[in-house]
Assembly symmetry: C2
Homo-oligomer: 389 residues x 2
């Protein structure tokens, strides 16, 4: 009993944390509930019953399947569902007409062959990248509707009526989804993408600075070292954010103008910035590897480069933060060019100091990680500039 | 007209290439067609018509929605659909019984409230990671079935019959899906994952070797340089393969024993190997950055380290290829320990040569990228060992 109770407690805590971290997830649950309750109204209200109530099932289904976390997701699925149902329905009625003219024995053959061919072709077309991005869900619905109408035409005489009924119920379901997802605590994919990119940029800035600080810090200040080495792990989110960036960008393209974003906001630009940030993060990853290497440069060498390396890292991080701010405010930054020229000066200085390091005549092998750190910093500086472009 | 024709030609070529590159995609299309044709048989055959034909729609729907590219995908969706329909149906009948006892005015309120509450809770539970991995699709179906049964119970009197009918048609649809996807040219997610990991490992080996070769090669052998620098880009696939590895690993866990894989094959091990390979690929990315840097070390310096660096890279690549072979054959490799000790020797030699480099008294700044390359190679060697573990 005790074990069960502790499991339940742990589960409860996790669920609570999930909701507290992002209350929008709780709201999403409630929104789905509201949309379904609204649909059931169409089923209970007597006057409506004669119109669409009998097939209200399709409206319920549409709501359950179309309603997504983001507005873009709901719009993508809703539009796909509507277009696919309409085209597949029209096509199926055409096939039905041909089949009904082709005699008793041929009829089932015509129907099955057409289903087989269209389903095969449509399924294969999902592998074409452009179609996959824009119409993946629509193809499923296309096959579904076509098969249902083409096959059931053999039994149901009122085919046109059925098609009309299905279309109107889907229209009701889709509109309820759109209304609830746009007007009740909307979650815009575009906003999320915008926030993800700027957050990742800040993380990159923090971890670059934290990482270099931790490396050059003296051992006495151990407490501070710990905190900045924790901060320096933040770049790891950037490494694996490609999938979520891509899906958010695809969904954003479906969204109407909202807040500061217009309808044709250049969403793919965010993907490019994201890719540039990942390139930078790969380099920080290697930098981290060198910093944690077993061979460590002697302190006097480290001190020789400490000041300029920390300055270089803080320059990079300033540039990243400045451009993240300029993305946040959607305004060209006035100071970024100044920061970049400062970065160039720091790189020059580091070059000079590195040449002086050589004259100390100490064994190269000891300074190996230090030199690599410096050289990676220079590479990172270059990639940071790429992000700004 | 010409423009349209050339677009059609380009599209046709692309589709042909898609099919020729991976004929399994064409087969997948045909398999969906076959499964749908089989289902339509249940609709045409008179004797069956009385049993399940009336609701054959559900069978068609199940096939369209459940049939996935891999066996694991079909099993995941099929099992999810079956379990979710059953539990949601049972729960909905319970709610129906309560609602029908609660009087005329309370009845719709009880129904709508229960739909609202269950839909909200179930939708929210999809954000819990474990549930998302195993039951994401099942939750959709759970909400769908529950809403349909609970809401339509208000009108349809033969609720139990409806539930039974739905279950049996779903059973037919799911079994047809399983049979076709397992016995007609099966595509196993497990096989795919296995092939993806070994292919990526080979690519990593090739690009590491190609990258270092291209850097140290003389300019005279330009043609060869081009070819190996092309090969050296192969690691880029490894950088972004996390998403497909994760989804394949999740689907593999649903698959029964097939070929050389048992039911509880340690699929998550592949994910760990994949992660280790990505760490290695990050380093190769930075290495590539240094190699393409503007500052280049003088030739005599390069020649000093050329032999050992190429040897080190080829050692790493040998280890990667050997362990990829041992994964392919699923046998412990006998020679890998020997290769690893060779790698250690090469790292030692490189250390020695690096210390000698210092005594040449040339400006450090020129040798900066070279030293970084060497030091990154040492780091890569360490990460290659991690992969083997």
């Amino acid at each position: 009993v005790n074990a069960t109770r502790s499991t339940m407690l742990r589960l409860g805590k996790m669920v609570w944390k999930l909701g507290a971290d992002d209350p929008r997830k709780v709201f999403h649950g409630l929104k789905v509930g509201i949309a379904l309750a609204l649909v059931s109204v169409f089923y209970y209200a007597r006057p409506l019953y004669d119109g669409v109530g009998g097939a209200a099932m399709w409206a319920v289904m549409t709501v359950v399947v179309v309603f997504e976390f983001t507005v873009g997701g709901s719009l993508y699925k809703g539009v796909n569902r509507a277009i696919a149902t309409f085209t597949a329905g029209a096509l199926a009625i055409g096939v039905h007409w041909i089949a009904s003219k082709s005699g008793e024995t041929m009829e089932p053959i015509v129907r099955s062959t057409s289903v087989f061919m269209l389903a095969s072709a449509a399924t294969f077309s999902r592998f074409i990248p452009t179609i996959k991005i824009w119409f993946d869900y629509g193809i499923t619905i296309f096959i579904l509707t076509f098969s249902l109408v083409a096959v059931s035409g053999y039994r149901v005489d009122e085919l046109l009526e059925l098609a009309e009924e299905r279309l109107s119920t889907i229209a009701i379901g889709v509109s309820i989804c759109f209304l609830v997802s746009i007007f009740v605590f909307p979650v815009w994919a575009g906003n999320d993408l915008h926030a993800l990119i700027t957050r990742n940029m800040d993380k990159l800035a923090d971890s670059l600075e934290g990482c270099v600080d931790a490396y050059f810090m003296n051992d006495e200040t151990n407490g501070k070292k710990e905190s900045s080495s924790k901060k320096s792990q933040a770049y790891k989110c950037v490494l694996n954010s490609k999938a979520s960036e891509d899906s958010l960008a695809n969904l954003s393209k479906w969204e109407p103008a909202h807040g500061r974003f217009s309808f044709r906001h250049p969403w793919s630009k965010y993907q490019r910035i994201g890719a540039a940030m990942r390139y930078c993060a790969y380099c920080i990853e290697s930098l981290n590897g060198c910093i944690n290497s077993e061979i460590q440069a002697p302190d006097y060498m480290k001190n020789h480069l400490a000041f300029i390396c920390i300055k270089l890292a803080s320059n990079c991080s300033k540039i990243l933060k400045e451009s993240s701010n300029s993305i946040k405010s959607m305004q060209q930054s006035a100071t970024i060019d100044f920061f970049i020229s400062e970065l160039h000066t720091s790189v020059e200085e580091l070059h000079t100091l590195l040449s002086q390091l050589h004259t100390d005549n100490s064994p190269l092998i000891e300074s190996l990680p230090l030199i690599t750190v410096a050289s990676l910093l220079i590479e990172i500086a270059k990639r940071v500039e790429d992000i700004v472009d």
